[in-house]
């Protein structure tokens, strides 16, 4: 029982008890409501169908990109590859965005289709890169083959003509380009290989230009050489004497008597005989009308020798003109001691300007020629024999 100081009226006691009862009921209602909400949410999450994230599509896209990169798509189809990369990232982020939502509200359709597109694009990049590589490989091989064939033709032309070091230089340069391009192809550097072949082709064009220059020079001088040959033959016919005609390009020396061919000798000429002799040491055999000025049956370094009277008046005149025009150095000497001598038979042009026969052929020719015998040397004779 309460003390006298704490006395309350019966009505107040009743209100307090009523309030306590009211609070207890409210709390219970609230608790039940919360429990119902929780139970409902659990039921929704458990039984409402929700989508699974397209993890497989993401993995496929990653694999496809890896394969494309391995093939070289980044190098040969960069734009395609970057597009596929971006699509994969976008699809991944869209998937992550959906993952962040409440399960019943997730929709992975967009993410899945983006990732599938990423994989397709990566496959396309891979395919196109492979095609590009195949194309470049094929192009490089075909360009190489073309250059090789043209070089072979030029090689035949060079081998069949007088030594031409200017042309040889460009041939070697083009040939080296071929070798380098082969190495580049083995390293998968197809574009570089094509560029190298193109450089080789430039050398080849320069080589062809030089050959054309010499052909043009020959075309301009052929009539002069024809005239010299005709005059020599006429002299031989008229006087009934022996004459010698040397055809540098054909590598032949002809012994003629009374205008008729008596004997043909194989010969070798100067190591740089593609043009007229310009100065001492240029390696060219002179072209002109000469005579034997001395016969050396003994004492020659090259078995036996027939000295010819190079330089003649025309040679001296040309030499002075070339110096004035700056074609040759002012310090250059005209040279001399051009002979027909032995120790030939080497199958290559090796002399400093002389004409080399085999020893047995020297023995033969020396039976018929003497001091004063005309010797006409031409670069090419299309009239004789």
């Amino acid at each position: 029982m309460r003390g006298s100081s704490e006395r309350t009226t019966p009505a107040v006691d009743f209100v307090c008890i009523g309030q306590e009862v009211s609070l207890s009921l409210k709390f219970r209602f609230l608790l039940v409501a919360v429990l119902i909400v929780i139970l409902f949410s659990v039921l929704v999450f458990l039984f409402l169908p929700c989508q699974h994230p397209p993890v497989a599509s993401l993995e496929n896209a990653k694999l496809a990109l890896k394969q494309a990169a391995k093939t070289g798509a980044l190098r040969y189809k960069k734009q395609f590859y970057r597009s596929a990369e971006k699509l994969m990232r976008d699809g991944w982020m869209e998937m992550a965005h959906q993952n962040g939502r409440l399960a019943p509200f997730r929709n992975y359709e967009v993410a899945d289709s983006i990732l599938k597109l990423a994989a397709e694009t990566a496959h396309e990049a891979d395919r196109e890169a492979r095609e590009r590589i195949r194309y470049l490989d094929s192009l490089a091989q075909s360009e190489r083959a073309d250059l090789q064939n043209e070089l072979l033709l030029c090689r035949e032309a060079l081998d069949g003509s007088l030594a031409n070091f200017k042309a040889e230089h460009y041939w070697t340069s083009a040939d080296l380009s071929l070798q380098v391009s082969e190495l580049l192809i083995t390293k998968g550097e197809y574009e570089e290989a094509c560029q190298t072949v193109a450089k080789g082709r430039e050398s080849l064009h320069r080589l062809i230009e030089i050959l054309a220059e010499y052909a043009n020079d020959e075309a301009q001088k052929i009539n002069v050489w024809r005239r010299w040959v005709q005059e020599t033959l006429t002299e031989s016919r008229t006087k009934g004497t022996y004459v010698v005609i040397v055809d540098k390009s054909a590598h032949k020396t002809y012994l003629i008597r009374a205008g008729n061919l008596v004997h043909t000798y194989d010969c070798e000429v100067g190591y740089n005989s593609v043009h007229q002799k310009l100065f001492a040491g240029d390696g060219a055999t002179p072209e002109g009308k000469y005579q034997i000025s001395a016969v050396k049956p003994h004492g020659s370094k090259y078995y036996k020798a027939l000295l010819i009277n190079y330089p003649n008046a025309l040679d001296k005149k040309r030499f002075q003109e070339n110096k004035k025009r700056g074609i040759i150095s002012l310090r250059a000497r005209i040279g001399g001691l051009i002979e027909i001598h032995g120790e030939g038979g080497r199958n290559e042009d090796w002399t400093d300007g002389c004409i080399a026969l085999t020893n047995s052929e020297m023995d033969h020719i020396m039976q018929y020629v003497t001091v004063g015998t005309p010797v006409t040397i031409v670069r090419r004779s299309d009239l004789w024999p």
Partner: protein, 198 residues
């Protein structure tokens, strides 16, 4: 009593929200900067595997952040994303270092070849100067000079390619130059032997 429990619960939830809901902006920035640096260092060409792993990790970190962004604040946590950004940054730095190391290795390899090729070309040049001279050898010497000129031209091209960073092309040209120069040396040695045996 109920009121005190409720207030305590709300206070605790707010605390958790504040501590876990902060996006890892700094870590993300650092990771992106490192990836960019790796790309500049040509890691895609020189360290493609390491770069690929770094990019994958960065993408995964971005995905984790995006996922967390979408969650209700009370359930949001960026701890996984943060950890992955930190890892992506480290991997990108590794990729950049690996690329740099590989570039240095390739560069050193080509530099070595340049030195080697120069030595062979110099030897060929010296051999040519001592080649047997005289009538009959001039044609060969002229041809050899042509070969050596071509080899030297290839060497010069290789130097230009090296300066431009085209290491594979430089290597091929140096190999061709050395082969040519070696062939020249062999030819001269054979000519000398032939002359000696004559």
């Amino acid at each position: 009593m109920f009121k005190r429990i409720t207030i305590a619960f709300i206070a605790f939830a707010l605390l958790a929200f504040v501590s876990c809901a902060k996006a890892p902006e700094q870590e993300m920035q650092k990771a992106n900067t490192s990836i960019e640096a790796a790309r500049t260092a040509e890691a895609e060409d020189y360290a493609p595997d390491a770069y690929g792993i770094a990019m994958d990790t960065l993408n995964a970190a971005n995905a984790a952040k995006t996922e967390a962004d979408g969650k209700f604040a009370l359930f949001r946590s960026y701890s996984k994303a943060k950890e992955m950004f930190v890892r992506a940054e480290a991997l990108a730095n590794e990729a950049a270092s690996a690329a740099q190391a590989e570039k240095e290795r390739v560069k050193a390899e080509v530099e070595g070849l340049l030195t080697q090729a120069k030595a062979v070309l110099d030897s060929a040049d010296a051999a040519l100067k001592k080649a047997p001279k005289g009538k009959g050898s001039k044609a060969d010497i002229e041809l050899i000079k042509g070969d050596l000129d071509a080899a030297n031209a290839s060497y010069t091209d290789a130097q230009n390619d090296f300066t431009a960073g085209k290491y594979k092309s430089a290597k091929a040209k140096l190999e061709a130059a050395m082969q040519k120069a070696q062939a020249v040396i062999t030819e001269i040695e054979q000519a000398k032997a032939k002359k000696a045996g004559k």
